[in-house]
């Protein structure tokens, strides 16, 4: 109890030392709690692609916890350094080291408890506050941000581990030092950091690996799996970069006497070098947080604003009807049903295409494998259909084919399916009156071939490989403009029909319940599939609700990251201001004018401002390709638009960052100039 009292008295007495540490602890806790809360929110399950999103959020939580660990160790060591003198005094006044360790552990324990209480309370308040603002901002309630005790427990467990680590670090550092060391440690200077070439190279290697992973991503699903690894590489690389590369650079500048011994550079270079070890972690943290903010915001804003683009690419006309039958039969059916119900079909476009083959397409060879990185959906289209759509005549001889890689890339000279090989005569990048995107996450390849007969064996093989029940064949897509009020009517009317490949389309009197029963067993192949109907408005609404959900999550995380960044910068400025205060006093006594002091401060401050944001923008540049692929998980992207929204979000974040910086710099000036 005595130690407990001593510990809590210590915290209260030197609150100014503890405050920055407590602040970073609580903020880190809140950030983690926010992610965990979103992850456990029931609303998440309602979003399309929620499983991918859950995975991303899980990974995000892991990254953020590691990040919190790094940052907490950094600020704890800072705290410890300031406290060692006090510990030394205890030691000399008769407390054993073991007892001092007990005190420091207890202090940490109190901080831990305070973090959980304050972090949870603030987290709830912050979440509620953000929720209200965002609902107001977006004009719609896309996502229910629900506080859950489980989230608190998970994050608290992670923080318990972090605090255990801190206790170990504290105990170790106290045990290692002699009483005299303890007494002196507080005002002991640091040796100039060594520049370690290996670390610099390792950092660059990590960055390169991360970048390489990001750039070489082949498909959306591939992006999802590589995202996490790339992020870890980049975080480690960033840290090493700041720790070694910047030191190397500063040392080089220092060696160049003509450069170094100029008033402008002299003080900046020497003081940057002096605390680069501390600075490196701080700068790396800021960089990583800013990058995270960029990535989350750009992704979600990009997704949200891509919706209209997706739909425009997908919907050639405002309604798409898909019938699993031949072109003639499907067309006749739809016309008949439409006429009977008095629904006008305007600007009708009809085309026939093979059922989809889904598998791995690698080096021109298609295999029935579910390899994520090369997963591709393949559809065949005859030359006649192509001509009918585009009005362009193509002459294909024998096994020649034209490739249209609508999503992804295809650069090979041939495409092989089992023992059938097509020579690729040409590769095209668009078909008029035909969607340029699909609603699946995989790549999409359309092959234009001479005749149906050529590909039937391939379809038969694929059908067998898939389980034999369903015979693969051709289906028909009919796009038309239909008045919004008639969409439901036509959909219902069509649902009474069953189409099954080459066989005649049958009509059934027992509406939809029948299909459900049929779907369970053999009967389905006999009964066939009802035609499907997708309307622009319907899909638009559905897209908007999930993209809105994403946007909501993105904004919550973005705000949280910005808040975190703000606090780290603030903490950095304040603690450095305290350190620099004496230096600037001395400099002024020796003969640095007030204006020169201000100029020196400004150039240091600017460097610390621009370095993280520049590095973050470079990181983001590489992440961009991944983001684009990730958005493809939910729907394809338009590069131009994504570029635009990304630049927009970066600008907004940069401006906010700048304002934060201005504000905290002012705090710094106030401390230094006092």
């Amino acid at each position: 109890m005595f130690y407990f009292k001593l510990a809590s008295r210590n915290i209260r007495k030197s609150i100014s030392n503890f405050l920055p540490f407590a602040l970073s602890s609580v903020v880190m806790f809140m950030m983690n709690l926010m992610v965990a809360t979103i992850l456990l929110s029931p609303s998440l399950k309602n979003l399309k692609g929620s499983s991918s999103l859950s995975l991303l959020l899980c990974l995000g939580l892991v990254v953020l916890s590691l990040f919190a660990a790094i940052f907490m160790v950094y600020s704890y060591r800072f705290l410890l350094k300031r406290r060692t003198k006090e510990f030394g005094l205890y030691n000399i006044l008769g407390l054993k080291k073991r007892q001092i360790i007990r005190i420091s552990v207890l202090e940490l324990f109190i901080m831990f408890a305070a973090t959980i209480v304050a972090g949870t309370l603030l987290g709830i308040v912050f979440a509620k506050f953000l929720y209200l603002i965002l609902v107001r901002l977006l004009g719609e309630n896309y996502f229910e941000l629900q506080w859950s005790p489980l989230a608190v427990i998970i994050v608290a467990a992670a923080f318990a581990l972090i605090y255990l680590l801190l206790m170990a670090i504290g105990s170790f550092s106290i045990r290692r030092k002699s009483s005299l060391d303890l007494l002196k440690n507080a005002n002991k200077g640091e040796k100039e950091p060594k520049s370690r070439a290996i670390l610099a190279w390792l950092g660059i290697l990590c960055l390169m690996t991360g970048y390489y992973l990001a750039v070489t991503v082949t498909s959306p699903l591939d992006a999802l799996t590589k995202f996490f690894i790339a992020v870890l590489f980049v975080i480690v690389g960033t840290l090493l970069f700041y720790m070694s590369f910047t030191i190397w650079l500063l040392k080089r500048q220092k060696k160049n006497k003509n450069y170094y011994y100029q008033p402008k550079h002299f003080i900046t270079v020497s003081s940057m070098l002096y605390r680069m070890k501390q600075n490196a972690v701080g700068l790396a943290n800021i960089t990583v947080l800013v990058t995270m903010t960029f990535v989350t915001l750009a992704t979600t804003v990009g997704l949200y604003s891509s919706i209209n683009g997706f739909l425009d690419d997908y919907f050639v006309q405002n309604t798409i009807i898909n019938v699993n039958s031949t072109e003639q039969r499907s067309n006749a059916l739809v016309d008949k049903v439409a006429e009977k119900n008095g629904v006008p079909l305007k600007h009708k476009i009809v085309y026939e295409m093979s059922n989809s083959l889904i598998g791995s397409m690698k080096d021109g060879t298609f295999e029935n494998k579910q390899t994520l990185s090369t997963l591709t959906m393949v559809n065949f289209m005859t030359a006649d259909t192509y001509e009918q759509l585009t009005g362009k005549k193509v002459h294909l001889h024998g096994n020649e084919a034209i490739a249209y890689p609508a999503v992804g890339r295809f650069n090979d000279d041939s495409a092989t399916f089992g023992n059938h090989t097509f020579e690729i005569k040409d590769t095209i990048y668009g078909i008029s009156n035909f969607p340029s995107i699909s609603m699946t996450a995989s790549n999409w390849l359309i092959l234009i071939v001479n005749s149906k007969a050529q590909i039937q064996p391939i379809l038969d093989d694929a059908g067998k490989a898939a389980g034999g029940q369903n015979k693969l064949g051709f289906d028909t897509t009919i796009s038309a403009d239909i008045p919004a009020k008639d969409v439901k009517k036509l959909q219902t009317a069509l649902s009474y029909y069953r189409a099954n490949g080459d066989r005649p389309i049958q009509s059934t009197q027992n509406s939809e319940t029948d299909i459900d029963q049929d779907d369970r067993g053999e009967a389905k192949t006999l009964a066939g599939m009802p035609p499907t109907l997708q309307s622009y408005d319907d899909l638009h609404e559905r897209f908007l609700s999930f993209a809105g959900g994403f946007l909501f999550i993105g904004l919550v995380l973005g705000f949280t990251f910005i808040l975190g960044t703000a606090l780290i910068i603030y903490y950095k400025q304040i603690s450095e201001g305290e350190q620099d205060k004496r230096s600037f006093e001395i400099l002024q006594e020796v003969g640095l004018s007030g204006a020169e002091v201000r100029q020196t401060i400004r150039s240091q401050v600017l460097l610390v401002f621009f370095l993280p944001i520049t590095v973050a923008i470079i990181h983001f540049g590489f992440a961009f390709i991944m983001i684009q692929k990730l958005i493809n998980l939910f729907g394809p992207t338009r590069l131009g638009l994504l570029l635009l929204t990304s630049t927009g979000t970066i600008t907004v974040v940069a401006v906010i960052y700048y304002l934060i910086y201005k504000q905290t710099s002012r705090a710094y000036y106030r401390i230094v100039e006092r």
């Binding site: 003509n258 011994y261 020497s270 003081s271 230096s583 400099l587 006594e589 003969g591 204006a595 020169e596």
Partner: protein, 252 residues
Amino acid sequence: MLLQVSHLQKIFQTRFSKEKTTALRDVNFSVEEGEYIAIMGESGSGKTTLLNILATLEKPTSGSVLLSGRDVTKIKENKLAEFRRSHLGFVFQDFNLLDTLSIRDNIYLPLVLGRKKIHVMEERLEKLAPRLAITDLLSKQPFELSGGQKQRVAITRALITEPDIVLADEPTAALDFKNSERLLTLLEEINATGQTILMVTHSAIAASHAKRVLFIKDGLIFHQLYRANRESSDFMQEISMTMTNLLGTEVR
């Protein structure tokens, strides 16, 4: 005449209270070139205040300070820094070395601020370093040095600008007896080369190394002693006696 101080007055008024403190009432004295002057007085007598005014770190309420005929109290704020680093050298009680700089760079600091050429800095340091016995310390960091070593570095930094006058505020206060003695002898040697020094102290031992001692009390200079050709120990006796008699205080 190098320095002429006349009718210097300094009244402090804290912002939050109406109470005024008169630190200096009417200080008059002058310093010839090549002199070594100690200003003595008890705690709170206004020594630091006086020195700060000479150092242009503070403005007097009234009076003037002429250095080589130029009134330093009238120098504009934005010219002060430049004036300080080209005409004055400082030695402080707590050394005031920058932790961020190596010893060499700490010494170079005022020259760098004055935009001197590198070879000029190197030449000057080469001449000074052996005299102050700091040649071996140049590549170290301040925290690796003892107090006496730090003060020698601080003196080197004060001398490297070749100032008109070196101002020292209790330079021995943070040092032990032996180190103090060494430092005081060093200052004497430096003065012997023609460098004018003005030191503020409350220690009779420190003052006894100077050529002339001024006594300050209640913001007034009211007595002075010349060392003439005496040994410093003899001179110290007289200083102690003067302090005891005139100021009514016991000194070390």
